[in-house]
Amino acid sequence: MKALAGRLLLVCSAAVLALSPALAQPATSVSSVSSVMTAEGPLFPLQPLVDQLGGTLTPGPDDQGFRLQLDEHTYIFGPESGSLVVDDEELVPLRPAPIGGSQGIQVPLAFLRATFGEVMGYRFGWIEAESRLVIEPRGSRELPVLVDVVNLQGLTTVVLQFPEAPRYRVEDSLGGPVLHLLDDRIAPTAWRFEDSDPLVRNIKIRDRRVELDISVDASYDTYTLESPFRVVFDVHPRSQRSATLPSNDLIEPPRPSAGLRTIVLDPGHGGGETGALGPSGTQEKDLTLLLARALKTRLESRLPVRVLLTRTEDTELAHDSRTALANQNKADLFISLHLNSVAGGKSAHGAETYFLSLQASDARAARSAEWENQGADAGSETPPPSDAGDPLYDLQLILWDLAQSEHLIESQRLAALIQEELNGALGLRDRGVKQAPFRVLMGAAMPAVLVELGFISNPEEERKLQDAGYRSQLVDAVTRAVVRFRAMIEGHSVDDEATEPTE
């Protein structure tokens, strides 16, 4: 709670809890709920919300937990608890946990979505502009939509978030893209677009449609993200080929995070996947394992952290399993270790640190280009490039579920620290922090980077990398970067840690 208090940004004194008119329950009952806005979204007191739904919320026998009776089911959970017991028999992981306090139990929106939404069968919508919470039982044909508009680096991103994936179609109109829901209606909302945005002039929500009115000089890409389901429109100036984050240009300070307790190190490759080969036959997969083991030892000796390796032997491991392991262990950091190679460049040397490319979808850029090519005729009825009939569409939807997108800023910051330490320690040529759609970073639900610690295609670097002393310097450098990163996210000075490695 102390950490949370420091993160309170804004108190919405008169947030309104409203039941959608589509509800079987009295649609007129509207009550005020004083939600609290935190950096991670709004927090709601649970009691009035339960009252609204006709349930009962009582403290548990030992005052440690709560018993929620709703729709003939019993749910037991507690402050900071990681699971929810349904009807005294089913254990459902609970994330995020509710928060206890003097004014009763407070729950984040994500809690409502995960418990009331996925477990208890309600749909939740948070209409940010009105600080209004929309609740409806599943089965209703009305879907709340949450709209978020962000302009960063000349790119406007409009995110339409639905409590579940609707059937929909995106069409282009003269003014811009229009999202049509095919089955459901959009829950009545008085949401109004009040931002002044250089590229998006207006957003109208009505009936089954969300209409984006975009500047005549703008074009857009659209794609989806899962968990929660979002339809995203990236609106950019027509001349802008693709929107990437400049590598060394931090956009904003990283969001505070709870702390650094668990780190997952991923020794790249393994088994039949050897990775890069050095001129004398050194395999990337072997060196990455040596480096990861040493880094684990060093990190655990320097910091009060738990360090897990995705593999401890020469085993082949799917890329998705690597981040899955990190996600399952609620890791606070994911570092994939690699050694580079380049075709025809035996002289290439130095370290590179990557974080995930936001536009990881070359496909998106291509679709945009395709659309611009096809739809260049003014007034053309040509629809924007559609994935309908594209056999990979479903797969793309899954892959675009970039859990990493929420952590890009911290990933970038960590990448910069690692790169800086590696350059400084070894006098390596600065190849810089870069972004790429690297498979192993996709799906990581925490700050995640891929570090290329050198080029084993370069005979000289290959020889150095075979030396344990040299590897130790690399490990020290990465450790220092992690120590600095930890200090940064936990809001204390690096001096609070011993700065010299403990051997």
């Binding site: 890329h319 690699h338 891929l450």
Partner: protein
Amino acid sequence: MTALRRGPLWGFALLVTIWIGCGGAAPSAEDDTTADDTRTSGQTINLYFPGEGGLLYPDPRDLTLTGSPEERVRRVLDALLEGPRQESLQAIFSRPTEVVGVYLTDSGLAYIDLAPAGVTAKAEATQEGDGPVETPEVETWTPEAGSLQEIQMAYSLVNSVVLNVPEVTRVVPLWMGEQSMTFAGHLDTSRPLAAAPDLIARPKADADPQA
């Protein structure tokens, strides 16, 4: 997920192979241009091969690009997989690799199915024979590369195809009939890739006007 459409793609790949008539040893680009002088003369196109600095370098070819878009993609790929002519450039793959099939959707999405050389013949034997089929042992392998080399690998293919065959806007690489999540463990190739002209080295004069 990796086994996406494997069956249909193999089947399709075989169909394409038979239809285009490129089964077995594919005729080289040079053979084509010299064998039939009555055709329209070849046009000079650039293939893009990995070279210094993690970049791709144009390697010109006089190729006759006629026929369906699939045929043209196939021709570009066959020439590309033969390797570069300039000594400073590198082959995309370190071992012989061949095109198994090319499939193009109406939206400009080209599936290019690649495999270690010889795997196609094995697949044909397996698929076409009645009853037990003797299949030659073919060494299968997956590409080895660090991330930068893998980026070169992928975009050598993508740039060469997309920049030479206008009907193609994106490429989905397949490896032995399966959609590859990555070629060598880094770059996500599970989604369609568009051309990346930025990876193509600029002529030296542009790069350093002072020189």
